[in-house]
Each structure stands twice: as structure tokens, then as C-alpha cells.
Amino acid sequence: MNNFEPRIVAFLCSWCSYAGADKAGSSRKTYPQNINIIRVMCSGRVDPQFVLEAFKEGADGVLILGCHPGDCHYKEGNYNILRRYHFLKKVLMELGIEEGRFKLDWVSSTEDDKFVTIVSEMVKNVKSLGPLRNEALI
């Protein structure tokens, strides 16, 4: 009965996670088309304003993927996003945006299967949460 198709904005670090997504594509793995990938140089480049802007512009969920801890090409970027993520998640929850709509995870360039699993699970979760529809933004 649920034919709601969520829109998910995914920020992928160019070095690891984007390469992982690329690998999933080139090895013809299938994953839901609900994600709109934005390639960033490092997960640490994701300013919380980008996430808020995505929700404001109609995203039902936001996903950030970066290199595994210790593997960031700029050393500290993914630790930085890890800290920001937990602060921002609390703010979003206090504003009534459920936990399941905002995810951070690590995907290396070889982890095409992990990429597919994360995306599929996120889409499934957001589907069950329903549309975000923040009417104050209209």
C-alpha cells in the first residue's frame, strides 16, 4: 500500500564512498533509485547547513558516507563529521525530524555491497517513516 518513493540526498566522499558507489554501478549491483548522490571531496566538507538545506528543499532523508575512521585522505575529516553528525542529529530530533532520516556511515572503495545494503536499508526506513513534509517551509 505504501507507494511513497522517498527522496534521499547522499553526500559521498570522493576518495572512498563515491568510489564504492561507482564499483556497485560498474559491477551492475542494483540498489533503489531514490538516492541523489552529491560528490564531496571529503565527508568533513559537509557543512550542517547543507544537510538542513537538503531537508528544506524537500529531501525525506539525508545520508553521509565517508572513508573508514583512520582512512580519511585529509586525516581528520571523517572524525569531524562524526562529531558534527551527533550534534546535528540531536538538533534535528528536537525539531521533530526522526533519527532514521539522517545517517552517517563509512564505505571504502571496495565495499560496493556495503554501499548497496546501507542505501537499501535507508530507503526502506524512510519509506516507513513517510514523507517529511515540513509545512513551515512552504
Binding site: 547547513q49 538542513l52 551527533h86 550534534f87 538538533v91 528536537e94 515540513n134 513551515a136
Partner: protein
């Protein structure tokens, strides 16, 4: 010389902004001498009809303080917009929504219920709540409509300039009035005040360690505050890194951390999330569990980071789950 016609008006606010005008002390006499006040409901006896009867653009400048939360306020500011050449959003509430916009964590229904039925001091067995229209023996009475969402002034009308602060500092007020009188205003849409952050001008900035780190966040009542050391370096939340300077560091001088009333600097839309980034970057943990502990220790995070800016933030209000 014809004196410029000036209006002052207050919407959803505490009245502190009007007080700030009086705080100009002797300077107020210069202002009164230089301008012709055509509307100032708090201080002088004018009626809305006096404004309605004016020509469009007849008022040179209207200073409007307060956020918009009633339809009456919306009508008033629309009328002032029509009759004024310049509209200046005066103070945090008009500029960014301010403290009244913290009501955006709730909505009309829950606020009226709390205030008229559930507050411990209320006796209201019939559960009466204010109505927009009430029929009485002598006719129908009308009250302004109470909105679900509090808005900043520029979410309702076009605003020419913004005077930040809760309330704006006397210096900035005089600077603005002088700029108006001398026809020396910055480009339309400017926030009047320095482009720097409060930290850049703060008297405590030299006490910051080279690399700022923080393992624990404390609240002002939990510690004896060092009167010279940077608040953030003491583990106290200070919005200085994400706040426009220009207030004269009023709170800092009173040994209290900045709460952000001057709003963000130019090019930043969302002051709360800018502060969030700054704070997160100095938390001295890479371990997820330790990070979570620090995050959990911040009470009312959104209310603290967005104390004056919830209405004008990217998300604007708490989502209604219906």
C-alpha cells in the same frame, strides 16, 4: 528643511527595543529635534487611522520591532510598508524572530491549551480559550488571530535594513539614525553592524589556547566563571564564534557568555548550525561513545543554538507530526 517623518511600532516583542530608544538618553533629544514622529503607539497617542489616511510612501522611515505572530501585527506592518519609504527591522525579534519564535517548538493549539487550561495558576473549568469571534448580547467581538508559526519581519514584508540585537545597542541606533539623516545608508538589505564575529573583537580572545579543545560542556550555574578567560575555553557555551559583533560585548563584560542575539554574520543563513560546527570541531574526542556523552550533556540544544534565530533558520519550526 523638512524633517523626515518617522514611525516606531512594536509587534511581538517584550518592549525592550522601545526602551533602547529611550536609552539614547540625551541623544534622544537630538533625534526628536531632527525628525517628525508620526506614529509611536507606546509613547504618543496615534491611531491606526492616522496611518491609513496618509499617502503611500509618506513616512520616510518606519522602525519596527518584534516578530509577527498575530494577524493584527501582519496587517499593521503591511500598512506601514505601504506608507513608508524605508522599513528598518529593529532588534532581534524583527530581524530574526527572536525569543518569541522559540514558540515555534509548539503550535497554536498546544500553546493555547497550556496557557488557558493546563498552567498551574489557571482556573478554567469550562475550558474556555480565546476565539477570533465571540457573540455577545451587544454584538460580535473580535480578537486577532494567533498564528501557528512566529515569523521574522522579512518573512511578511520587504525589509530595507536590519538593526540587530536584543536590544540594539545605543551606538548602533545612533549610527543608523545619523546615516538616515545624512543620506549615507549602506546597500539595501544590509544588517547594520560590523561584518566580524564577536570573537574577533572579544576582550577575552587572547586567553584562548592555540588549539582549543573541550572534553566537557558545562552550564553557567554549575561553575565559578573566570572573569578573564574565554568562555568556550572554560567549557561554557558561548555563541561568539557564530555571532556578529557590534553589541559592545555586553554579556562578556557582565561575565556571561554570548547567547547570539546579534545573529549570524553576512553570508551565513543558519547561525545555530554554524555554531554547532564550531563547537563540534573543538570536542576533543574521536570515539563515538565519548562524543555522544558530550552531545547528551547539552540541555535544550536547539533552543540554545537558535535562541534568537529559530524563525529565520533553515528549518524554521518544529515539525508537526499529524
Amino acid at each position: 528643511m523638512i524633517k523626515p517623518k518617522v514611525a516606531f511600532c512594536w509587534e511581538a516583542s517584550c518592549g525592550g527595543c522601545e526602551e533602547a530608544v529611550l536609552d539614547l538618553n540625551e541623544d534622544i533629544l537630538k533625534v526628536i529635534e531632527a525628525v517628525d514622529i508620526v506614529f509611536w503607539p507606546i509613547a504618543l497617542d496615534f491611531k491606526y487611522a492616522d496611518i491609513e489616511n496618509m499617502n503611500d510612501n509618506e513616512i520616510d522611515v518606519s522602525f519596527i520591532s518584534g516578530a509577527i505572530r498575530l494577524n493584527e501585527q501582519e496587517e499593521t506592518v503591511r500598512l506601514l510598508r505601504k506608507k513608508s519609504k524605508l522599513i528598518i527591522a529593529f532588534g532581534s525579534c524583527a530581524h530574526l524572530g527572536g525569543i518569541p519564535a522559540l514558540a515555534n517548538f509548539w503550535d497554536r493549539e498546544s500553546i493555547l491549551k497550556k496557557v488557558y487550561r493546563e498552567a498551574p495558576s489557571v482556573i478554567n473549568p469550562e475550558g474556555k480559550e480565546p476565539q477570533v469571534k465571540t457573540k455577545t448580547a451587544s454584538g460580535e467581538l473580535e480578537l486577532p488571530e494567533f498564528y501557528d508559526t512566529v515569523k521574522a519581519l522579512n518573512q511578511v514584508i520587504d525589509v530595507d535594513y536590519y538593526l540587530p540585537g536584543c536590544p540594539p545597542s545605543p551606538d548602533l541606533i545612533m549610527q543608523t539614525i545619523t546615516a538616515i539623516l545624512e543620506n549615507n545608508l549602506p546597500p539595501k538589505g544590509s544588517v547594520i553592524g560590523p561584518a566580524k564575529t564577536l570573537c574577533e573583537n572579544c576582550s577575552r580572545k587572547d586567553s584562548k589556547p592555540d588549539i582549543m579543545t573541550l572534553k566537557e560542556i558545562k552550564r553557567p550555574h554549575e561553575v565559578i566563571i573566570d572573569p578573564e578567560k574565554c568562555f568556550l575555553a572554560q567549557g561554557l557555551i558561548c555563541l561568539g564564534p557564530a555571532t556578529r559583533s557590534g553589541c559592545g560585548e555586553r554579556c562578556i563584560k557582565a561575565n556571561m557568555p554570548c547567547r547570539g542575539c546579534f545573529g549570524p554574520t553576512d553570508n551565513v543563513i543558519d547561525q545555530g548550525s554554524k555554531f554547532l560546527s564550531a563547537l563540534a570541531s573543538i570536542v576533543d574526542f574521536n570515539d563515538e561513545e565519548e562524543i555522544k556523552k558530550v552531545v547528551d550533556s547539552v540541555a535544550d540544544m536547539t533552543g540554545t543554538f537558535y535562541r534568537f534565530t529559530l524563525a529565520s533558520s533553515l528549518i524554521k519550526r518544529k515539525r508537526r507530526l499529524k
